[in-house]
């Protein structure tokens, strides 16, 4: 069993307090970082191969590198708006280890010369907000946050900003608009946040799990972190396992582990000794895997390119084109792994996923606003067993009309699982139509 890095003290209430966290060595990395050159910290993080844990897997050090060393008014934003269905790690990290996150934010702010840090915490996380506010107060009293961090001339102000119920605010530009006191509607990119971010200032947005890793990278070095991972992806990563397994939970695992190993060994197998029907590999927006595709490692690049995973199709034999002829297999996303046993009605699950994205569409782009509504209508009647002949192709056609045609990725997030479920489980959809009771006279 690999020794966990950022989840080692989950479940230990002492680690939540300033005293307890410091007894575990907490804030030593901040002290060390303040004695380092800013560019050396960025270099360590580049060496570490840390990739963003929010879903996209973008290399963190490279993202930081987009900020000009001459920029003076940089803002750091921590994305703690966790709400992708199946994902439940950031909430635990905040609740058990708030100081680990704060320390990660402060080191990053120092490295980027950011004097303002916002932690955007999801509105529904009221318990975690309370814990985080307590920790921020402790860190301020201890002199880690303020005009002279640990007596140095580094100035960092940290504001915890509560969301108010909107999945879309997890999208980074929507999040920035939300901080600015606007509706959480995503912005067109470019310009990217590193150039024009919140309040028009250069901005870095990092996920909670990503930032929680930073103190450990500074403590042990980027190479240590890189060595724990795969060639292009450093460290361990948290997966959140839910659904039909005997031991659901959050596990910090090496990215060489396969889905089968995770489910059978770590999670003690499928409940009731049932067989696996489908596995969502990284939050509900990712196309599912079927039982034949579980020997792939849970790693960013593998899930996008491993040929053992069947590409998503728009109709049998015709792969979906991600652009430039690239095929869509699936992605590691946010680490939310949802396991479904053989008794699961995957059509109903697909319909529930559609309804979520329909509910959360911000309404800005027509293909998403209208398309998710149409998907929802057709998906619901299929799930109820009232589908019409041609409905499966209709779903696929609508999904293709959304994917790639919207400002942000919510449109793709709605379309991809629909295409994925139909590709892997078309028979289940067809059976729902063909097995309806027929009036014979």
């Amino acid at each position: 069993m690999t020794t966990p890095i950022i989840t080692a003290h989950l479940g230990n209430p002492d680690a939540r307090t300033m005293t307890g966290y410091q007894a575990l060595g907490g804030y030593q990395s901040l002290r060390k970082a303040l004695k380092m050159q800013r560019k050396d910290i960025v270099a360590e993080v580049k060496t570490s191969n840390l990739r963003g844990r929010g879903g996209a897997g973008f290399p963190t050090g490279i993202k930081w590198g987009f900020i000009s060393p001459d920029a003076t008014d940089v803002v750091l934003v921590c994305n703690a708006d966790e709400s992708e269905p199946g994902t439940c790690k950031d909430r635990e990290l905040i609740y058990w280890m708030p100081h680990q996150l704060i320390e990660g934010c402060l080191i990053t702010a120092y490295a980027l010369k950011a004097e303002k840090v916002f932690i955007y915490i999801r509105g529904e996380m009221m318990r975690e907000y309370k814990v985080l506010m307590q920790a921020v107060q402790e860190a301020t009293q201890a002199g880690f946050i303020g005009d002279n961090v640990l007596g140095s001339d580094t100035k960092i102000d940290l504001i915890v900003h509560r969301g108010a119920g909107a999945y879309i605010c997890g999208e980074e530009t929507a999040l920035l608009n939300s901080i600015e006191g606007r509706r959480g509607e995503p912005r067109i990119k470019p310009p990217f946040p590193a150039v024009v971010g919140v309040f028009q200032k250069p901005t870095v947005v990092n996920n909670t799990e990503t930032l929680s890793n930073i103190p450990h990278i500074i403590e042990h070095g980027g190479q240590w972190f890189a060595d724990l991972g795969t060639e292009r992806s450093g460290g361990l990563r948290i997966v959140c396992v839910s659904g039909h397994v005997n031991k659901p939970g959050i596990y910090e695992i090496p990215m060489t582990m396969t889905f089968r190993e995770l489910i059978e060994d770590t999670c003690d197998g499928v409940w009731k000794n049932n067989q696996i029907k489908a596995v969502i590999p990284g939050g509900s927006s990712m196309p599912p895997l079927d039982v034949s595709e579980l020997d792939v490692p849970i790693e960013f690049d593998a899930l996008m390119s491993d040929e053992r995973i069947k590409p998503v199709e728009v109709k049998p034999g015709v792969p979906f084109d991600l652009g430039g002829g690239r095929k869509l297999r699936t992605m590691a996303g946010s680490g939310g792994i949802v396991v479904m046993d053989h008794t699961t009605d995957v059509v109903s699950v697909c319909s529930r996923i559609i309804d979520f994205y329909h509910h959360e569409s911000c309404g800005q782009c027509t293909p998403c606003r209208e398309g998710t509504g149409w998907l929802s209508k057709v998906g619901k009647r299929l799930a109820r067993g009232e589908g019409k002949p041609g409905d499966v192709d209709l779903l696929s056609t609508i999904a293709q009309g959304i994917a790639g045609n919207t400002i942000c990725a919510l449109g793709d997030a709605a379309a991809w699982p629909v295409l994925g479920f139909i590709t892997k489980f078309r028979e289940d959809f067809e059976n729902k139509i063909n097995n309806q009771p027929k009036r014979v006279s």
Binding site: R91, M126, A166, V338
Partner: protein
Amino acid sequence: MPSTFSRSSIDELNHLIDRYPTKQAVLLPALHLAQKEFGYLHHDALKAVAAFLDLSIDHVNGVATFYSMLRQKPSGTNVLRVCTNISCMLRGAYDVLRSFESELKLSPGESNDMFTLVEEECIAACSNAPAVLCGTSYFYNVTPDQVVSIVNDLRDNPQPEYEAMS
């Protein structure tokens, strides 16, 4: 319902105005405060926020109606958020929701004095599904037969969201 902020809210808002780069950015915290103070965001509450932050009422209304936690009508003392998203659904969340509906005699979205029942999207408690949230209290691995005791518990020890947080 003319609405004016209390002294402590005014102090808090002024403190936030000092820390945020723009006044408009204080809007979300101000709407949370208004909801805490006035119960829900009726027109006069929105007007008080707009006046305090020098924003148009239309902008404030546009933002207030975007976010699902900001309410345009009164809620019960306890806002019960029952997750029915996939991880919870796979472990029986709809049966749990039906039990809350029959125990409270409310449909999702409805309120009485003591309770508001919300069919919530994923609350990031997927590995403890089905999960229910009320204020700062989580209920994990909920079964339909636990619903009566959860409701009774919250009747005896209410969890109003803003009070639970402070």
